[in-house]
Symmetry: C3
Subunit: 305 residues, 3 copies
């Protein structure tokens, strides 16, 4: 599939350019499908689908995929331990970034004077998130240096072609995906929130999801957790503010004023994620309860108005 | 008292059958008073007392009893450390299970489309919790193997008789307790929520409570915390869904759509519990603040409509 | 400035009397500006400014100052580790005390029967907090014994004079500060909540803030975090209940029934603080995101009614 091809090409790029630069490309390309889908959905006026998809990406990574990784890793290798500084730091950063993302919604819901200014507050919040992303980006590139890469097997031309083709492919697939989404929502009687939170979020994060679970299966829990939680962090720090600002050029603006339950879920999930990762141990039982938690949350959003 | 007798009989059973099987019986019997009280209360139409009692069990264990255990242990032995994998795992599982339990309430309160379907959502949530309990039960039985047991002093017949009698006794006591509860609520002018959250919850968890505090006093903080938090976990994973499904046969159905403050308290308490246990150290000051937190929460529910 | 002078005088006192007694004086004097400002503001009828300032002190310490300390410490010394029992214990106590402080607000917002009794509940809560402070005070004095102090350079008379003068000075400054506050609020079009949460809170905590950041810069992260989080703890355990009870003598009573968003921010900040400190590592990126989080929360309160 497309996602796997991009993954392969990025790995080749990493072997050639060094893992730092490859990290940028991998991050950017891993979020490319999400970005394209969100852009097409915003273009189609589905702002609430995109809002749900942003929260759903973090929920999907930090609950469903983390849970599946714990189940797979735990059933194969028993209790897994992960104590690396990187896994902890990424999970703490994700908690903080997700909590920041949730503030405008709480301000709208619980602070009457701010309710009239939520659009401004949403832009301030997006600006702060983007500034944090730009500030911290260089250090993340450097700190990625100790990942392992196989020697390059593809030529530069092949890698570039694959990546270019993948970009175009992602755009086309995303367009098709979004245009197929609306009829699917109607025929299955699911809500737009459910479509965004579950369907779009899982589709958009396919690469990281598969990679994270595979790493857990290979008993590399530290790396698995870094990849999974890092994907949540990128959604909060990069994808979200970029979409907010890009949407200013569209007729449908994206704001960070979510439906209240979405923001609450986002905050709860971020706290749970940080507690689970700081805990430093995982078992398949923990994974199973995470998956159960995901099922109940997803069910809550099934019904539409 | 009854609770102590059941505890003694279970220990005898453990010495005879092996600690794994004894774990099942101990868990089941430790929750027997709670189960009976809840059933009689549901039969008497007191669904909101039962809802409060479920949250109150988790609150009582993870805040009041944990606090008392910290105070007793801390005053006798100074700062206590607990770093066992088991204590951490149980507290993480409890956090996740309690968070799952709270989702239907938040969906009702903060997501209009789900409000019309909360009964269905409540059943889904109960189903997920029960499935998680059934899935994880076998592994819990096995992992209990390293607890210590004295050699059996009672005969099989005596043990069986005591346990059987205790079951019948628990049923009678619970019946009497519930029938005495309603007049007591009226004469003391307390709310039904307070009765459930404080009175029923403490009465129903007497065994685990005493055991947990005794273990802390004997400077076995890891074991104490496992017992205390495990009791919360059983309420969320086993007692709650069983009561939801059994109540379908009654005229008063139990749902997991709690009053909002109860669900919020449940979530906060679960998060605090996990943070405190992951912290890995306890002092009597921490215990004192936990007890103070319990007093303030209990006070909030004193007033009825 | 005044704050620095008090700090110097306290250090001299510590060198003379022993660090235990100095701890009391330092705590009391460190909170003196806050106390005076709050008293003058209550006298001027600005109860909502004082409420916001209490939450703002905890927010300022546990988010802004902790964030700045992480940034300064991280940029100078790379990843900093802090694993002392004291830092963890103080952060856990702060979490519990702040959660207790938030209960009356949640009871008002989410539990109709309690809404009519919030004043009583607020007094119960303040009583519990004050009792906890009195109970735990002696142990805190003793455990401060291992801080380092330079030998005394000032005479007893000089120290006493400086401290006495500082007290009078703090009173005058606070009076001037509060009387200048109301016109400033009007001319800058900021809300009273913003004035309390940001301006008053930062002004009132100047001493601890500077000390905490300096300690982080000198690569003493454990001590820095103790000082910073301890300041939050004193606000919750000592300053808040004292102000509630003292305000009973005023025409404007201070209650612990905050605007909902303030209580929510208090709870979230306390949870984040505990997770971050239990994490045991800090980087400048974490600090930057903390500062960003502070900016977004402060922005939410900018607009007034």
């Amino acid at each position: 599939m497309l996602a796997r091809l991009v993954g392969g090409a990025t790995e080749q790029l990493g072997a050639r350019l060094g893992s730092g630069a490859a990290g940028v490309v991998q991050s950017a390309l891993g979020n490319l499908p999400e970005l394209f889908i969100a852009l097409f959905a915003l273009h189609a006026g589905l702002a609430n689908v995109v809002q749900a998809a942003l929260v759903g990406s973090i929920l999907g990574n930090s609950v469903l995929v983390l849970g599946l990784a714990f189940v797979v890793g735990g059933l194969r290798h028993g209790m897994q331990r992960f104590d690396s500084d990187r896994a902890r730091m990424v999970s703490t950063l994700t908690l903080l970034a997700a909590a920041t993302m949730a503030v405008p919604t709480f301000a709208r819901a619980y602070h009457a004077p701010a309710a009239a200014h939520t659009h401004t507050l949403s832009l301030i919040c997006a600006g702060v998130l983007l500034a944090l992303f730009v500030l911290t980006l260089p250090s993340f590139l450097r700190s990625r240096g100790n990942e392992e890469h196989a020697p390059p097997r593809w030529s530069v031309a092949l890698t570039a072609t694959v990546l270019g083709a993948a970009g175009v492919g992602a755009a086309f697939t995303s367009d098709w995906f979004v245009s197929a989404l609306t009829p699917a929502i109607h025929s299955l009687h699911m809500s737009q929130e459910f479509a965004g939170l579950v369907i779009v979020a899982i589709a958009g994060n396919a690469v990281e999801n598969v990679v994270g679970i595979q790493l857990a299966a290979r008993n590399r829990p530290d790396f698995a957790i870094s990849v999974i939680v890092n994907s949540s962090l990128q959604v909060a720090l990069a994808l979200t503010p970029v979409l907010v600002f890009v949407s200013l050029a569209f007729s449908t603006h994206l704001t960070l004023v979510f439906p209240t339950l979405l923001a609450l879920v986002l905050l709860i999930v971020a706290i749970l994620g940080a507690v689970i990762v700081n805990d430093g141990r995982s078992t398949w039982q923990e994974g199973a309860v995470l998956v159960g938690f995901y099922v109940v949350i997803a069910s809550s959003f099934w019904w539409g108005t």
